[in-house]
Symmetry: C2
Subunit: 298 residues, 2 copies
């Protein structure tokens, strides 16, 4: 099968490239820990060639993710919600690389919450375009910065970012709550105890997380269990707050692998939510749809 | 005036010693950044003598604070709520130092929240004993770990810890929210914008704090203003949650100097709370009352 285009999913901590044939078929892929934070200013072009230098320079490239952020290769303004395939594909920014590659950068999407605050995504919009089937859909991206995304007939209508993964790791590594933690094993009962405490939301986040310390002081959790408990507290807090603004009786589409999102999904189920998983490589499917919509590929 | 006893307020980050006369009069005081975290295991006695070696070894010493915690000199079990002067003074632990000083360690206080979770204090109970005048009283201790403390006729009946100061500094120094921050100036308007956003509590803490980044991306806050904004968000979150569990129409007694608690108090006032300040050295007054109640001093 001939290659139609090259897909780049270039985020904060990782670089992924795909040689893509018809119908978004992945013919070859590679990944490296060369996210934008590890690339020096001015070195994006050379980093790209170091990975895909052997691939045909005449192939169009579609690139999405934090690569279009202020810390990336080229900063693109956001497309605003509602954002669909047409508005995103219509805002591609073409850049010619040193070796003459045509790189079509995909912009991120911004929205405003009910409180008037801006919120942003770069990369998730491409995953959503790849995964969307039409009608009313609800997507969740677990991770460092989780996003809850509402989609209506293929258009992203609104979303909220939660700093869940980053707040957990920051508290674990840099606050007093991490001092008593030992081990890396996941303890499901301790995790669920944290989730349930958070779902009740007694006293608020800044108060509740202190129990990570006091339960250890009172020997009601072992030091080995504390990281799982705090993880449950933080993820449960996200879910409690997200479900105050998002519907309960729908099915949430998780944009992550079942293995990586395992604990996150168990917390969602504790909260009474229904979940399903999108297939892997939805980012490639999304870039394929965007490329076709923009006329970059037939 | 003769010295009646020596008061030690020995916390996590600082060491304070007072030579105290009649009626809790401070005759001499000294402080050093030798909190328990900076003292090696087994070195508490020597650290004490390095500071007060010149003071009469026959004087009784009253000591409170994190010095009685697991990381301190001697770990004492907590007195449980309701905790008053009699129950605290009745639980003093006497230790004789290498030079023969009699040190009366004051235990901390523990409670259980409505959710059954333990909460703890070490040192604040002594400040409350010093500041309490009787009747229904409400104390707040701003800082790394803020505490909201209910007191009834001199007895601590319940309290909640909020990890406000520590969460703010952890996010500022170790998360993406700190990346765009510049400068150390306080910007009152940005601070109040953060407080007001938190008091509305739209979307929950893990979501709202992300606006520290997006408001900068959209040039709606300058990089210089971001730390003040995040501080307002975190302090406002504490106040929003604390006032869900504590009464609104009362006067809160702030156990901190007006200068140090200035921004914290302006956030409380934005939330419609009334505040007053306790006099300085309430810890010394508290240790004096405890010493008298225990018969350590006449």
């Amino acid at each position: 099968m001939p290659t139609r285009f090259i897909a780049l999913d270039w985020g904060t901590t990782s670089f992924r490239a795909y040689r893509v044939g018809d119908d978004a078929t992945v013919l070859e892929s590679l990944s490296a820990p060369h996210g934008i934070l590890s690339v020096a200013v001015g070195a994006f072009d050379a980093t790209l060639e170091s990975h895909i230098g052997a691939w045909d320079v005449s192939l169009p490239i579609l690139a999405s993710g934090m690569i279009t952020s202020r810390q990336g290769w080229i900063e693109l303004p956001y497309v605003t919600t509602p954002a669909n395939l047409t508005s995103i594909a219509g805002a591609l920014h073409v850049h010619t690389s040193n070796r003459g590659r045509k790189i079509h950068f995909v912009p991120g999407v911004s929205t405003r919450g009910n409180d008037g605050m801006p919120d942003v995504m770069r990369g998730e919009e491409t995953q959503v375009m790849g995964a969307s089937k039409g009608g009313a859909e609800y997507f969740v991206t677990p991770g460092t910065h989780c996003k809850w995304i509402n989609v209506d007939n293929g258009a992203i209508t609104g979303f909220s970012t939660y700093m869940t993964g980053e707040v957990f790791s920051t508290l674990k590594n840099h606050s007093i709550l991490g001092r008593l933690m030992t081990g890396d094993t996941h303890y499901e009962a301790a995790f669920e105890k944290g989730v349930r405490a958070a779902l009740k939301d007694a006293g608020g986040f800044l108060h509740r997380i202190f129990s990570t310390r006091t339960l250890a002081l009172f020997n009601e959790l072992s030091h080995d269990e504390l990281a799982s408990y705090l993880s449950g507290q933080v993820i449960g807090t996200e879910i409690a707050h997200a479900t105050a603004n998002h519907p309960m009786g729908v099915r949430y589409n998780i944009l992550a692998s079942p293995a990586l999102a395992q604990h996150y999904v168990s917390a969602m189920k504790l909260a009474g939510l229904q979940v399903q998983f999108s297939p892997p490589d939805v980012a490639v499917t999304g870039l394929h749809k965007i490329a076709a919509n923009a006329g970059v590929i037939p």
